[in-house]
Amino acid sequence: MTGKQKAWITAVTGGLLALAIFFHFTGSQELKSSTLIVSTIIAGVPIALKALQALRMKAFSIELLVTIAVVGALFIGEYVESAAVTFLFLFGAYLEARTLEKTRKSLKDLIDMAPQEATVVRDGLERVIPADEVEAGDRVLIRTGGKVPVDGRVAGGRAHLNEAAITGESVPAAKADGDTVFSGTIVESGYLEVIAEKTGDDTTFARIIELVEEAQDSKTKTQQFLEKFANIYTPGIVILSIIVYLFTRNIELTLTFLVIACPGALVISAPVSIVAGIGNGAKNGVLFKGGESVEALAKIDTVVFDKTGTLTKGRPEVTAIDAFGGDAGELLRMIAAAETASEHHLGRTIVEEARNRGMIGLEQPEEVEIIKGHGLTAMVGGQRVIAGTRKLMAENGIGVTPEAEAAATAREKAGNTAIFAAVDGQLRGLISIADRVRPEAKDAIRSLRESGVKQIIMLTGDNRHAAALVGKQLGLDEVHAELLPEDKVAFVKKLKQDGRRVAMAGDGVNDAPAIATADIGIAMGAGGTDISMETADVVLMADRLDQFAHARLLAKATVRNMKQNTWFAVGTVFLLLAGVLLGKIFLASGMLIHELSVLIVILNAIRLVRYNGGKRKRKPEGVEPFGPQPAVAE
């Protein structure tokens, strides 16, 4: 029987019940009774059928208990009760289905973003085929408004992509030749040709969905406990009802016990919260591996961060250009032209900066000589360019004035690498490069502290100077520099031994061992790399720290919600039992309370679907919540 048929039967029996009430007030008892019996049969048959089907498979079901109760009620002539119980049972199931759908909405929204078809070029012809049938190596075309149907590499065209399906981030990202694109993302403007690498169920998008589905069905300890309770509760109540019957011969009381034997709200109370919470996370680019991860993240009191790529952007950037008596732009253009010949990451950073500033058609450098670890010399447009370290300047006999030296030292103290730039034997300026702290890092750390994290620690393999600076900028409690990956593992272990509940956040690749050691491992900016998705308990898909803060708040809200539901459900069970024993609750009212309690826990969980981390409560800008600057451990 399908959901639609059930809805119909519910509607018909509802109508019959209304009719029975009408007959009740017009005083036609005969008509009332027969209407109720008809209603009971219409609603009862599908329930009995299901009970039978289960019985045939040697499976026990709640339907069986309800069927026995209803038959019993008919037998003793309690038509009102029998009609009400069957109606409430079906109506309750209907409402539960509708409301449960809402708790699962986030994931469904995500699944709906799955690409259906793809335009591929085969045998020189464009063809539209189902997305599942694209094969690795196919050339796929995506036009404005289209969905990328595969994971692959751009091989033509440029476009702005909305990657919300993967990262939860709706600000479009620019993509051009060589960039990786993910299935499920949408071309907002432009045109792309993509060579398919992963298709169908292997795409990051498909794996996210599978991961979330599995996570939503993983069981937390609370849930396991509740299920154990339910496993004892149901047979216990059934036996109790038999005992009650043997001793009191009170059929009505016995049947009432059968009706309340299904611990619906109890079994569903914890999972609905987890489902809604995990779903909310998935939609915002936060993947929880399971209910356990949610509970663990809610409990942590210490957060350990890796520096490079986690607290900082992990990509060096040009932070300042000091031109001595010339034009900074002109100097950058000149140096960038020379550096096009360099493979060094600092050189590339300078070239990238020039491109970002719209400098196109950089001149081709000639007579390039690369001095490893120090820089390079080259001819650009007939002028001799030297860019690199102090030592390189000295070796080439270029004078560094005390003023220039002071400027360079100041830049270095601020955490930069200063590159000296000379043209035609004259020192013309400094280009400073640094790996900047993420702009959202400070807010994210503040939010973590507000959510009850007591200590925030940074571990890094980087040098002390750079580490201390980041620690100071972000107001971290402890900074430990020059560590090897195994040192990080040892450090996390020690924290755990001290009784801390530790979360470790890193990029998921270098930090995989430490992430695996912590109570809860968080991989940042994964964008779907396999290692991080496997090692970490929580994966932040976008390269943004504020997702961490959201994850923590969401985890706490989910656990809170779960606790409310559990207490409510347990309370209801005892209330029902007491009510039945005191003779206040009978078949219909028992079923009503039962169904209501189920609905209430579901409705409570639905609140989590819309949870946004209490963003409205954010402190006004400019408030410094840290108090005195914490000491930086050197």
């Binding site: 089907q53 539960e96 289905a97 449960l100």
Partner: protein
Amino acid sequence: MKQVVLQMEALTCPSCIKKIEGALGKMDGVEQAKVLFNSGKVKARFDDGKVSAEEIEGTVKKLGYPVLSKKVS
């Protein structure tokens, strides 16, 4: 060893999980049966020499749960 994934209508009562998992688990050739309650899916790993995906689908249907789609891999 093959895997079949059945997409069902939304499941509402958690007791369905035990019912379906129990019934499939008793089938000869079914290695592991798992009901994903929240996504309304049934996943079963089975030995295709002993039992077919259609038979698994049939058991679920006989239990009273309509199967919307089936994917064997």
